[in-house]
């Protein structure tokens, strides 16, 4: 049904988006400001980006952030996919409902509490805070996002495909690798991208679990901003917005187009 685009709709849309994106747009614009004073426009320049590349502390933090994001999202993808598979396909086992409820708990848990409890855990087991602890922490909270994405895909596709694979002589592992995984691959990839951007974004949990030698970019930015906003920070933030936007858009594109197409093909393939 096509309805006329009323003034009311147009206004709501504009206001809503302005509300969401205005602050970011201003930040991006000011990252190209030639002046050192953040609030005074003095012409276009990319010099702060160059400046950024010469700042050792920021580069170190960027490297740590990237490492943490890649490693934690990869581990989270493996664990999250396994969890989703067991919860969707494992049949009935004792405590299944409890498990499937519990896996989503970190989605609604306040980050401060997750961070604090992880911190207490690391202290209790005597693990020195550093890259490893951030990776562990990020894996913990992004795993549930992966498993949500993957399980929605698993629910959608026909169980009998896996049965057919078993019937034709696959071991359960072989059936998973040669039938299930190719079918859910887009969901797994988009889960990975989601976990990656979540890790890149995170400030609260990282600040609980990072050590002195391992600061991530969000922590760096946050502490720098407390001393005053600099155009360099604006430039850095712009880059991060760019990366996160690419990640999120890629994830949603994959799930929208690839998964939709595969689901359609599957349904077509079952039709009689």
């Amino acid at each position: 049904m096509i309805r006329r685009f009323s003034w009311f709709n147009a206004t709501s849309l504009t206001l809503g988006f302005a509300f969401l994106y205005m602050p970011m747009i201003i930040l991006v614009i000011y990252s190209f400001n030639a002046s050192k004073l953040v609030t005074v426009w003095a012409g276009f320049s990319t010099k702060w980006y160059g400046e950024l590349l010469r700042n050792e502390a920021f580069l170190d933090a960027a490297w740590v952030t990237l490492k943490v994001a890649v490693i934690s999202s990869s581990i989270a993808t493996v664990l999250g996919t396994m969890a989703a598979y067991v919860l969707v396909r494992g049949g009935r086992f004792a405590g299944r409902t409890l498990f499937s409820g519990m896996i989503y708990a970190p989605l609604v848990m306040p980050e401060v509490i997750t961070g604090l409890s992880l911190l207490l855990l690391f202290i209790a087991v005597g693990l020195d805070r550093g890259v490893i602890t951030i990776v562990l922490a990020h894996t913990t909270f992004s795993m549930c996002y992966v498993s949500v994405v993957v399980s929605s895909r698993l629910v959608a596709f026909d169980r009998s495909l896996e049965e057919a694979a078993l019937d034709l002589g696959c071991t359960p592992f072989d059936a998973f690798m040669s039938v299930t995984l190719p079918m859910i691959a887009p969901a797994v990839i988009s889960g990975w991208l989601l976990a990656f951007t979540l890790s890149l974004d995170d400030l609260v949990i990282a600040s609980f679990t990072s050590g002195p030698s391992s600061t991530t970019l969000p922590i760096k930015i946050f502490s720098a901003v407390r001393l005053g906003v600099s155009p360099e920070i604006n430039a850095l933030s712009t880059i991060m917005i760019g990366i996160v936007a690419v990640g999120v858009i890629a994830a949603s594109l994959i799930s929208k187009t690839r998964i939709a197409r595969m689901t359609r093909d599957e349904q077509a393939a079952q039709q009689q």
Binding site: D158, S160, A164, A165, L168, P182, M262, R264, Q270, Q272
Partner: protein
């Protein structure tokens, strides 16, 4: 048509020395509190072509899934070659199944779908291609080998599913409605192919079909099911000529059912009083039936002759009026109403052209049949 158990006829179920390939012993399958298969006892012999027939939801697919190993029975044991198969996982069973939903792998081409099982069998790599080509030829899919399942038609998909399950030449092949989407010609050809494959490889087939004619053509024995229970297991001709219940008689082909009270005569002969003002039906029946038993008398339309004159050599003769005629090409079915209100169908082959047919609507005709034409059923 009747088969006598002689050495030349394939009838291992009549031979007490033959061991069945599959034995169901008291097998029950429940889903929650719903019983899909109810206390099933069934023997299937090697090289059989065993057909499962029954209305939708009666448990046919469930039986297949128990054999393939996807659903363990809730109770009872299934023996394959004297081995209890309960602990054997599906991938270790010498059984392949063609799924009712086909379950083709959408990400693989037709070729790779068919080769999928072979690649996981002991067959040497060099022979796999030949085998796949053979299967493609058999199912006439050569042209579509490179296509993905969503790029071919429904009937073609069904053939891919069939080819994939046939490729490994398993000991036991389970086909869940294998030919439903094929046109009549292709279906006939494929039926003959299946029988041919069986001749050559000695595979045992269990096939689910909704098509009675198919079951009658290909099956060595037919099992008619209802609500998870076996109603009758017998050769196609026995099922047709000697159904053991009204349900089976009614399910297979057309039948006239007349209810009445039994009056035993000399051994093997009975009379059935079925309505006021008509002579009792004369029929043959085995002993053990007592006077006054309520019975159903079943007689097939093609056993009833239609004539303008009263025939005097037939055991059963009634008169009625033609209400409807269904012209089916080679045969016509006459629906005749008797004075008592009973509707009887009678079938005649059309040896004459349509405009010279003998009878038309509203004609009063005689229906007649012999005392061996119908059977007496007590359930």
């Amino acid at each position: 048509m009747a088969q006598s158990p002689s050495s030349s006829v394939f009838a291992p179920w009549d031979d007490p020395t033959k061991k069945p390939l599959i034995r169901f012993e008291g097998v029950t399958k429940r889903f929650g509190d719903f019983t899909a298969v109810d206390n099933l006892d069934l023997h299937i012999y090697e090289r059989e072509f065993f057909a499962l027939l029954g209305p939708s939801g009666c448990g046919k697919t469930t039986i297949m899934r128990i054999l393939a190993g996807f659903d363990p029975p809730s109770e009872g044991t299934v023996w394959l070659d004297d081995v209890n198969i309960a602990p054997v996982p599906p991938n270790k069973r010498p059984v392949n199944m063609m799924f009712q939903s086909y379950a083709l792998f959408p990400h693989l081409s037709v070729y790779d779908n068919i080769a999928f099982g072979l690649k996981r069998s002991p067959m040497p790599k060099s022979e796999i291609d030949g085998r796949v080509q053979e299967m493609l030829r058999l199912t006439r899919l050569e042209k579509f080998a490179r296509r993905k399942p969503h790029q071919i038609s429904g009937g073609q998909r069904q053939r891919v599913a069939l080819a994939r399950s046939l490729a490994k030449a398993p000991k036991l092949l389970l086909l869940d409605e294998p030919l439903g989407a094929l046109d009549k010609k292709l279906r006939n050809d494929t039926q003959f192919e299946l029988m041919d494959i069986q001749e050559k490889t000695g595979t045992t087939f269990v096939i689910v079909t909704h098509d009675q004619e198919e079951a009658m053509t290909v099956a060595s024995r037919v099992a008619v099911m209802d609500n998870g229970k076996l109603m009758q297991v017998a050769t196609p001709d026995r099922i047709y000529e000697a159904p053991n219940s009204v349900y089976v008689a009614d399910f297979i082909g057309d039948v006239n059912i007349i209810e009445g009270n039994l009056r035993p005569q000399e051994p093997g002969k009975v009379l059935i009083d079925w309505t006021e003002g008509e002579a009792p039906i004369r029929a043959e029946a085995n002993g053990g039936l007592t006077e006054g038993t309520r019975v159903s008398y079943a007689v097939r339309p093609e056993k009833i002759a239609v004539s303008a004159e009263r025939p005097d050599d037939r055991a059963n003769v009634v008169q009625g009026k033609i209400i409807d005629i269904a012209y089916l090409g080679n045969i016509s079915t006459y629906h005749v109403q008797l004075p008592s209100g009973h509707m009887i169908s009678a079938q005649m082959t059309n040896s004459r052209r349509i405009e010279r047919r003998d009878f038309t609507w509203e004609d009063t005709v005689w229906l007649s049949w012999t005392d061996t034409a119908g059977i007496v059923l007590t359930q």
